[in-house]
């Protein structure tokens, strides 16, 4: 069901000019190089819960008629199309035969100046050899003017590619980043050209494969809403590349706040972390529990009783005001205070607690804001479901 939920522009005080650095990326969006990002935890554990991403996309708005069509400035000199040549160990993949590619899924709109006229069509998500998965897409310009494809889908190190596209495995709750080669290049096609009005440009990019029982994945791009349920097929082609860095398959974490009891929650795979506000649990600057604390901790105990984990981690944190010599011991004492109640209330046998105070390390909120500092003053209780 598609419906219209437009926002009327509400007057508010915001700066007229973009903040410094907004228009250009000042840092690479992904780290490249030889870095192991695979989470062994995520791949070893069996998934029991229901899929992370529920159902199909929910469109609140569509850009339809009347969208601004502007031809961005470009120093365009036509249709030069250098195939991927950075890195001597990069084989080039033959483009699919013929100009008619069957489209298996498409994006609905985009965050570009041509809006819905910028369309990403997915031609294939196919296995192409040992742990290699190739995504073949076309970028189509449905507008009336030329559109120059710049860096919207790529990162700094790999301009004119689609290497910032990622795949989501909802079954295992992981995100697959595109392969990086040891020389920093992506394993992907390169496209530096003008897409004429009505024209289309083909691109491909290689990812690590998911486990065999994963039949489809979602495709995320920096410029369009995600495209769900893209089926994985097998190609008869095989690609090889001996220069690949380690695959980067990273977990996805759900983050929520319970506004009624003022607790936070993160879930990543089977690991649950319940975040308790120190302002609520404790008297100011002390590790003495407040009157409400026991009830709050009791809720956590109930979850632990239902869970299977034998180890529960209790970690205390502070904001960045005050010194480490105060914050570290205080956060330690607070974590211990929570442990003492939990040990009391947890009835399942064989549960052990590991307790640590971290002071102002590992903030989850922005210490420059009051809201962020409050969030950082916390005790988290982490266990496996």
């Amino acid at each position: 069901m598609v419906f219209f939920a437009d926002l009327a522009h509400k007057p508010h005080n915001i700066p007229v000019s973009p903040p410094e650095g907004w228009k250009q990326r000042t840092e690479p969006s992904q780290e490249t190089g030889n870095k192991l990002k695979t989470e062994p935890r995520a791949s070893k554990r069996k998934r029991k819960r229901s899929p992370l991403i529920a159902g199909t996309s929910m469109a609140a708005i569509l850009l339809s008629s009347g969208c601004v069509v502007s031809s961005p400035d470009h120093s365009g000199n036509g249709n030069s199309n250098p195939d991927q040549e950075t890195g001597s160990s990069t084989p080039s993949s033959p483009q699919p035969d013929g100009t008619e590619n069957k489209v298996i899924a498409s994006s609905t709109t985009s965050s570009t100046s041509i809006g819905g006229d910028y369309q990403i069509d997915i031609y294939a998500l196919e296995t192409v050899g040992d742990n290699l998965l190739r995504l073949q897409i076309g970028v189509t310009n449905h507008s009336d003017s030329d559109y120059f494809l710049q860096d919207g889908l790529s990162d700094f190190e790999n301009p004119y590619t689609a290497n910032r596209i990622t795949l989501l495995d909802s079954k295992n709750q992981t995100r697959h980043l595109s392969f990086t080669q040891k020389n920093g290049a992506c394993f992907c096609s390169q496209l530096n050209e003008n897409i004429p009005a009505g024209g289309s440009a083909d691109m491909w990019v290689i990812f690590p494969q998911p486990p065999d029982d994963v039949e489809s994945m979602a495709v995320t791009t920096p410029l369009t809403p995600p495209i769900f349920d893209v089926p994985i097929s097998s190609s008869s082609e095989t690609l090889e590349n001996s220069g690949l860095a380690d695959p980067e398959i990273i977990p996805m974490t759900m983050i929520s706040d319970n506004t009624e009891d003022n607790t936070g929650r993160t879930e990543s795979g089977d690991e649950v972390s319940i975040i308790l506000s120190s302002d609520v649990l404790f008297e100011t600057n002390s590790a003495d529990l407040s009157p409400d604390a026991r009830d709050i901790i009791d809720q956590v105990a109930m979850e632990i009783n239902e869970a299977s984990s034998s180890t529960v981690n209790i970690d205390g944190y502070a904001d960045n005001t005050g010194s480490d010599s105060v914050n570290i011991p205080l956060s330690q004492e607070r974590a211990e205070a929570v442990e003492s109640i939990l040990a009391d209330l947890v009835t399942r046998e064989g549960v052990t607690f590991e307790v640590k105070g971290h002071g102002s390390a590992d903030p989850i909120g922005d210490n420059a804001t009051e809201e962020g500092r409050e969030r950082n003053r916390r005790v988290s209780v982490t266990f496996e479901k």
């Binding site: 069901m1 973009p18 199909t56 100046s113 710049q150 860096d151 919207g152 929520s256 506004t259 922005d366």
Partner: protein, 107 residues
């Protein structure tokens, strides 16, 4: 669950969108992680999914093609990805500086 939402600039001056950035939780880099959804029935607010690098699964990463500053009259679509329990039927979309948009059904 993905939400596609757009913002239109009905004013006369160019407006940047940096205020859509994460508020209480920090996500890596540039992002519109300030857009959250609320399950009013349970009183639970969902932030966009965060990956293992700390990145938001949502719009906001800048590039030459990404429109992060709206010219007068411009309306651009963005997206945010959330993980919510299967039994939720409707949510309220919370965009900083705007009134919450209620009763959005999940299809």
């Amino acid at each position: 669950m993905s939400i596609t939402w757009s913002i239109e600039n009905k004013g006369n001056s160019q407006e940047g969108l940096a205020w859509l950035k994460d508020g209480s939780y920090i996500y890596k880099g540039q992002n519109f992680a300030g857009v959250t959804i609320m399950d009013s029935k349970e009183g639970i607010r969902y932030h966009p999914i965060m990956d293992g690098d700390g990145s938001c699964l949502c719009s906001g990463e800048s590039s030459n093609e990404f429109i992060g500053t709206l010219n007068p009259g411009e309306k651009i679509a963005y997206w945010s990805l959330f993980s919510v329990p299967d039994d939720i039927d409707t949510v309220t979309v919370e965009i900083p500086n705007f009134e919450p948009i209620e009763d959005i059904p999940i299809s």
